[in-house]
């Protein structure tokens, strides 16, 4: 199978990083070349973007850089205090400046509709410049807050719609301007403010002995049940 070579990949990544920095460098958006750490060690574009500039960056990527595909939106919660087990010493994953992070994975695929009765067979070794498929990782960092908000890109990539729904449902990050936001994976009648991937919601952690003694978990108690609250 003919595939994209590392030279094609490097030149495309370099060009994309240069374009992004030239266009948005003054707005505080910075792009850099990052490298995967295993396997073929190909490069991708990593962009740090202030949340208020995200929509303009997204529009530029979509309509001028040919980034036609949004793969995934991930929300991460970085609280100032985090205990893995209740009552045991914890640590601080976050800082006052970084309380939440939204990571968006985009791909430039360069897909065009073929004509009727035809097919587009792309020859990977002949792709140059803007046609080379490229991975983007955009990071939006939010400060410590109880109401994390980023602008929605639902109108730019249709595929962002359900990704944003999922991120709000599980992580609780609001997407401003998102039409028809609703619970998708949690039950529809979950209480407001319940977003289980936030770090204050703990996983019940049990060892294997406990599982054999009480497979159904009827006798299990919360780890802090003996503590006075």
């Amino acid at each position: 199978m003919q595939s994209i070579s590392s030279e094609q990949n490097l030149s495309a990544v370099g060009m994309a990083v240069e374009d992004t920095n030239k266009r948005f460098g003054e707005a505080g958006i910075s792009a850099e070349v990052c490298q995967h750490r295993s396997g073929r060690k190909y490069s991708f574009v990593h962009i740090n973007c202030p949340p208020n500039h995200w929509v303009s960056l997204a529009k530029w990527l979509r309509f001028e850089q040919g980034v036609d595909y949004l793969s995934m939106i991930t929300g991460i919660h970085f609280p100032l205090e985090f205990e893995f087990f209740s009552g045991q010493p914890g640590y601080a994953p976050g800082t006052p400046e970084k309380g939440w992070e939204v990571i968006i994975h985009l791909t430039r695929k360069g897909i065009k509709n073929p004509k009727l009765g035809e097919q587009t067979v792309i020859n990977a070794s002949k792709l140059v410049g803007m046609d080379v498929p490229l991975e983007y990782q955009v990071s939006l960092v939010l400060p410590q807050t109880d109401e994390p908000k980023v602008p929605s890109v639902q109108s730019i990539w249709e595929g962002a719609d359900w990704n944003e729904k999922e991120t709000w449902d599980l992580v609780g990050i609001e997407f401003e301007g998102h039409d028809n936001m609703m619970r998708v994976l949690n039950p529809h009648d979950s209480p407001p403010g319940f977003h289980p991937l936030q770090k204050q919601y703990k996983i019940r952690y049990h060892n294997h002995n406990e599982m054999y003694d009480d497979a159904q978990g009827f006798m299990r108690k919360p780890l802090d049940s003996d503590k006075k609250k």
Binding site: M1, Q2, S3, I4, H36, R37, S38, G39, R40, Y42, D68, Y69, L70, S71, M72, T74, I76, F82, F84, F85, Q88, P89, Y91, P93, I103, H105, T107, K109, I111, K112, N113, P114, L116, G117, E118, Q119, T120, V121, I122, A124, P133, E135, Q137, W157, E158, G159, D161, W162, N163, E166, L170, V184, L185, N186, P187, H188, P196, L197, I203, Y205
Partner: protein
């Protein structure tokens, strides 16, 4: 005519799993749809925040019961990116063989589930019969029939057993003949053609904007495939092409194109398996012990905060992506991932298909939905 809502699911033959499609109909015509997912949400992403990087593999196997090997490997590549693990080349070949076998088995499961939807009951039994050929081979590798727990961060659990290559070649030769039988049964069946041709038209650009990938986009006439676009493993060293179908109508690809592209993809996957068996370093009939450096290199076990890894993977249903952030665990030392995020192709495809079927008849809903190969295990995670 008066419009009304019909609820299809959660127990309905169309769903191929557990979810609900609420359909607004005007007579026989679909006017609007609302998909409802989440019936089997297990919280895998949260569970994995308390599991180390080897313990996560079986959870990823269980994301999709029809395509466990591809999901486990999708995770493994992201974990290797996070940890910076090196993989021996022989292990990459073994993984490739396993993944392509799983892809054939998954497409056979799809064909077997799809044909009863459109009025052909025979193919279901035939497909499950031939799927056993590949499940037996995968069982030799992983030790179980469905959830293999086979790949490891840094390699694979065991080497190919002695005689595996011989059996694989014989079975693939037989399977190629069987595929011709399927084509004779389906491509010349009026019932099948009437139900699939000209139904469920989708254009390539619309699909990619909505996030639909994999065989579904290749059916619309573009040979885009992550295996060559963002190469991983050793796909560039073996023969095989991305299957692609000619667009058959002005509105884009129809259900028949999506059936054809999967048939071609099964043949291409078989070619890849044979090619990989021919060129595997060390020879296909050699057996190395567990943890031999030909098949496994010990990876780092901790990922400190600030490191992250992601990987786009060509799953049997489209692009699956894992994102892992390091620095998790009891004291933040990184023995567990701090956050694991899963991109399921079907979670994005199902809402798209629900809108794409607007304008068709109620009787076309199973044909259109089934042709995209929904799998709810991965959708709800």
């Amino acid at each position: 005519m008066a419009e009304m809502w019909i609820t299809m699911g959660p127990q309905h033959p169309m769903t191929h799993g557990l979810w609900t499609l609420r359909v607004k109909v005007d007579g026989e015509t679909v006017v609007d749809t609302v998909p409802e997912l989440g019936y089997i949400h297990r919280g895998v992403e949260k569970i994995c925040e308390a599991r180390d990087f080897t313990q996560i593999t079986p959870y990823c196997d269980r994301l999709c019961y029809a395509s466990a090997m591809t999901w486990a490997q999708s995770y493994i590549y992201a974990a290797e990116d996070l940890l910076g693990a090196e993989v021996p080349e022989r292990a990459e070949y073994i993984r490739l063989i396993a993944v392509e076998m799983q892809r054939v088995a998954s497409h056979l499961m799809w064909l077997g589930a799809y044909c009863p939807d459109v009025g052909n009951l025979t193919v279901f039994v035939w497909c499950l019969r031939d799927r056993e050929l590949f499940l037996d081979l995968l069982q030799e590798l992983g030790g179980s029939r469905m959830h293999y727990n086979f790949p490891r961060v840094g390699g694979v659990k065991r080497d190919l057993p002695i005689g595996f290559a011989m059996r694989a070649r014989a079975k693939i030769e037989m399977f190629r003949k069987r595929l011709q039988e399927y084509e004779m049964l389906l491509d010349e069946s009026t019932i099948f053609l009437v139900r699939t041709q000209g139904v469920g038209a989708c254009k390539a650009e619309e699909m990619i904007n909505a996030g639909v990938t994999g065989p579904n986009i290749r059916a619309a006439g573009v040979n885009y495939d992550i295996r060559w676009a963002h190469p991983y493993s050793v796909y560039d060293q073996i023969d095989g092409l991305a299957a692609v179908e000619k667009v058959s109508s002005n509105e884009g690809s129809d259900c028949y194109d999506r059936y054809r592209v999967r048939m071609t993809e099964m043949i291409e996957s078989c070619n890849m398996i044979i090619s990989a068996l021919d060129s595997i370093p060390g020879g296909a009939e050699t057996h190395y012990n567990k943890k031999d450096e030909m098949i496994y290199l010990k990876p780092p076990i901790r990922a400190p905060a600030g490191q992250n890894g992601f990987h786009h993977f060509e799953d049997s249903r489209g692009e699956s992506t894992f994102y892992l952030a390091g620095g998790g665990g009891k004291k933040g030392r990184g023995e567990f991932p701090y956050r694991m995020s899963i991109r399921s192709p079907m979670f994005i495809t199902i809402p798209y298909v629900s809108k794409a079927m607007i304008g068709y008849k109620v009787a076309d809903i199973p044909a259109i939905m089934g042709s995209f190969d929904p799998c709810i295990g991965e959708t709800d995670r």
